[in-house]
């Protein structure tokens, strides 16, 4: 069984500030981890994914995430946010045993100008 928890339903930051969105996962086997973003009135788009190697993965638009096996976490970070980063961010997990993606509940990010 696998699951994902995003403990923060809403996050508000000021433009130019740094950002961390939290994600905790549970998986009985090696996890594959993803962050997707949903802009208003659109479908989800992949930001980045991790499946092996360097625990810090780079994504689009300056986002990165760090895999921590000891903490069962895959937090998303950005050094300086822009107002256009306002969106809903979803963490998701699958595994190498063929399990389909399981999504967290999402974090709605609002960036104040």
């Amino acid at each position: 069984a696998q699951s994902v928890t995003q403990p923060d339903a809403r996050v508000t930051v000021s433009e130019g500030a740094s950002l961390q969105l939290r994600c905790k996962y549970s998986s009985s086997v090696t996890p594959y981890l993803f962050w997707y973003v949903q802009y208003p009135r659109q479908g989800l788009q992949l930001l980045l994914k991790y499946y092996s190697g360097d625990p810090v993965v780079q994504g689009v638009n300056g986002f990165e995430a760090e895999f921590s096996k000891s903490n069962s976490s895959f937090h998303l970070r950005k050094a300086s946010v822009h107002w256009s980063d306002s969106a809903v961010y979803f963490c998701a997990v699958s595994n190498n045993a063929g399990a389909k993606l399981t999504f967290g509940g999402g974090t709605r990010l609002t960036v104040r100008p």
Partner: protein, 114 residues
Amino acid sequence: EAAVTQSPRNKVAVTGGKVTLSCNQTNNHNNMYWYRQDTGHGLRLIHYSYGAGSTEKGDIPDGYKASRPSQENFSLILELATPSQTSVYFCASGDGGASAETLYFGSGTRLTVL
């Protein structure tokens, strides 16, 4: 041009009525998925398909059927719609990557069952 297209964009149905949500993809992906999105639940998998003629049950298949008549098309069918099926439905195609498949989503269908 969008590679995954859903129709209709919005739908209002009556309880007990039949609803068909359509999805077309031009990615030539074998895998296709139907999810529903509800506040606080994220996306939950309803049905998926590995190719034309194949459909598989996801995590919440009750009350839904799926049809994959071709590589490009994947439909979700609600034979007897209920108000609890009011939601936003997303279709996606998957690139079937051996490591960490990436999904490509449509823009969603907002379904309201009265």
